[in-house]
Amino acid sequence: MNLEIILFIVLALVAVVSSVAMITRPHPVISAVFLILNFFALSGLYLLLNAQFIAVVQVIVYAGAIMVLFLFVLMLLNTNKEDNIFKQNKALKIFAIAIAVLIFAQVAFLIFFSSPSDALNSQVAESVQSGTIQQIGTKLYTDYILPFEAAGFLLLAATIGALVLSKKKFE
């Protein structure tokens, strides 16, 4: 029972509980806060997996930028509490939950059936090396330079798009 397993259990539990809480709370701002908690738990899990750069970027970009944007918009729109989610279309929603449970059961079965960790030996030393920022940076600028530039244009298109849709007339 070393520290690693305790950390994994705690972080996984936080991730699970916060994700379920997120979809069941009626007030949207509380859902957003639970999602932020989920992202922090995921960041801890990335650290356990030796992905240092991704863990830090997760907190900075996801929890720090994207969720703050969501919270701004939620405050701006002044949304009220939703009704209890099972009030309308009860049968349809039970059906949707049943489908999701089915999907999860199937994926869980697949994972245990194929036992991937037998086929792959855990490459600890390499995984520590590959999570460092130098390695990711090298890959980004040599092998993946074209996706990198494409991501730049994606951000440009998103900026233009957001501006077109939400800005009122300038003059």
Binding site: L110, S114, D143, L146, L156, A157, I160
Partner: protein
């Protein structure tokens, strides 16, 4: 650090560089000329033509660009004839869409955001060009998102109409969910094979023995994302609402270009990753992951049937054309599920013809909606008598969409059916034929309203200026010409189906 590998690869991506430069140029020009923006459509047109010239240069070149450092045999971008053909289809439809936007009242009303409109169209063009020739899952995902994001915004561009913003929201939610599922499938595929390059995945799938259930699950999830792009059942639910709510030039663009890019991706994905060898007759031999044929047959027949039967009771012409384009996606998948080079040739021929007939139909609907302000079928009563040129051209486009001789639509369907019969799939061919008969009803119903109903007081003669007549004639000529003299198209398609590596 030696960067020669990047500069060598730039030669292969000249069209994409031209498209990117056009985006930046358009945004800058929009800033400089912020009072008088009449120059912007011309700059956009020039950008598309220059990109088109680079695409034509790419015919008969093949090779990899942006080779990976640890496996220099394969790269990110695969340039080949197949890709160049689909890129040419994108360029031609883009030229037409710029022409449509110039004649569209909806677009001419937005005077302050014109530069952004054309910049986003170029964003779509860039996304499609990269999507067509990408051979790495990361690049496929990124370019698909670039295409999708620009489309979400363009679909909601005329935001003063309620339906436009809601179409955009619906498009966004469906699209984001589908690409989220596709991403999960890609992550599982990466975990199984250790790489994201399609060629390396293919080699890994053939040599290692992997768990087929997991592989099947990940492929189905990836098909969720691709199926959303080509609007095949069961991922087609966004299509009618988005096509109805978006400005009509964007609807026309989405129905042709976005679908072409999605199909190019689907064909490249299947052929590169799962085809082990091609025999002398051109039949493909696929990895036995699951029963490909049954799955694709079910999806294709479902798409065709849903599209055709739901179009039967549509009163709004844009919505009817949306359902008809869903049905055409079903017909196109028929060319894929025979798994042979002949089917691929049929798909290429059909796309060339579908480009002209679908764009033509949408243009005429747009011209009529400009004047009457409505797309309802009852407002087409007696149009054939008042504006006979429009009525006759719409009739020709609709007859071609049905697939009757002597229009080119018949040739497209003929080659698809020949490929089906050669692969001994007679039941599928019969069902597809029945679907074509069903589609006859709703296409001919428009003709009945136009020519067999007497005009009411509301229908007016629709004035056309010279440019609009020229655009319609340019689209009519291939439909009529290729209906009788179709060997150039067939020979062109036959020589351009080579995908890199085969």
């Amino acid at each position: 650090m030696d960067l020669s590998f990047i500069t060598e690869s730039l030669y292969f991506v000249k069209p994409e560089i031209a498209a990117s430069a056009s985006i930046i140029l358009l945004v800058l020009l929009d800033l400089i000329f912020h009072k008088n923006k009449t120059i912007i459509p011309y700059v956009a047109l020039a950008g598309i033509i220059i990109t088109g010239i680079f695409v034509v240069d790419q015919f008969n070149i093949s090779g990899f660009a942006f080779l990976s450092t640890d496996n220099p045999k394969y790269g990110m971008i695969a340039v080949d004839n197949f890709g160049a053909f689909f890129k040419l289809i994108i360029i031609i439809s883009s030229i037409f869409v710029v022409a449509f936007s110039a004649y569209s009242d909806e677009i001419n009303k937005i005077t302050d955001r014109l530069g952004e409109y054309y910049a986003l169209i170029f964003g779509m063009i860039l996304g499609m060009l990269v999507l067509i020739s990408a051979s790495d899952l990361i690049l496929i995902y990124l370019s698909m998102e670039l295409l999708s994001l620009s489309s979400y915004v363009l679909a909601g561009f005329t935001k003063l109409r309620d339906r436009s913003s809601e179409a955009s929201l619906k498009y966004l939610l469906y699209g984001a969910t589908s690409t989220g599922m596709m991403l999960f499938g890609i992550s599982i595929l990466y975990g199984l094979t250790g790489s994201t390059n399609l060629y390396i995945i293919s080699a890994a799938l053939q040599t290692q023995s992997l768990n087929l259930l997991t592989l099947a699950f990940s492929i189905i999830l990836i098909f969720a994302g691709i199926g959303y792009k080509i609007s095949s059942a069961p991922f087609h639910f966004w299509t009618p609402d988005v096509y109805e709510g978006a400005p009509i030039s964007i609807t026309a663009y989405l129905s042709v270009a976005s679908k072409a890019a999605g199909f190019a991706l689907l064909i490249r994905f299947i052929k590169t990753t799962f085809v082990t060898f091609v025999d002398d007759n051109g039949n493909w031999q696929l990895l036995q992951v699951f029963d490909w044929e049954s799955l694709l047959i079910i999806i294709s027949l479902l798409t065709m049937t849903l599209g055709n039967f739901t179009a039967l009771w549509q009163r709004n012409l844009k919505r009817m054309l949306a359902y008809s384009s869903i049905a055409h996606a079903g017909y196109l998948m028929l060319g894929l599920l025979v798994f042979s080079n002949q089917g691929l040739i049929a798909i290429l021929i059909y796309f060339t013809i579908y480009l002209f007939m679908n764009l033509g139909a949408f243009f005429i609907v747009m011209v009529i909606a400009n004047k009457t302000g409505s797309e309802d079928i009852d407002d087409y009563d007696g149009l054939g008598f008042k504006s006979s040129f429009l009525g006759v051209s719409l009739a020709i486009f609709l007859v071609s969409l049905t697939g009757l001789p002597p229009t080119a639509g018949f040739i497209g369907k003929l080659y698809l059916f020949i490929a089906l019969v050669d692969a001994k799939m007679l039941t599928v061919a019969i069902i597809a034929l029945l679907n074509t008969v069903v589609s006859l009803y709703y296409y001919i119903r428009v003709l009945k309203h136009m020519f067999l109903t007497s005009p009411t007081e509301k229908t007016e003669k629709i004035p056309l200026n010279f440019g609009q007549i020229a655009v319609i004639i340019i689209m009519l000529i291939p439909i009529l010409l290729f209906g009788v003299y179709f060997s150039p198209v067939v020979d062109l398609a036959k020589s351009y189906i080579t995908i890199l590596g085969f």
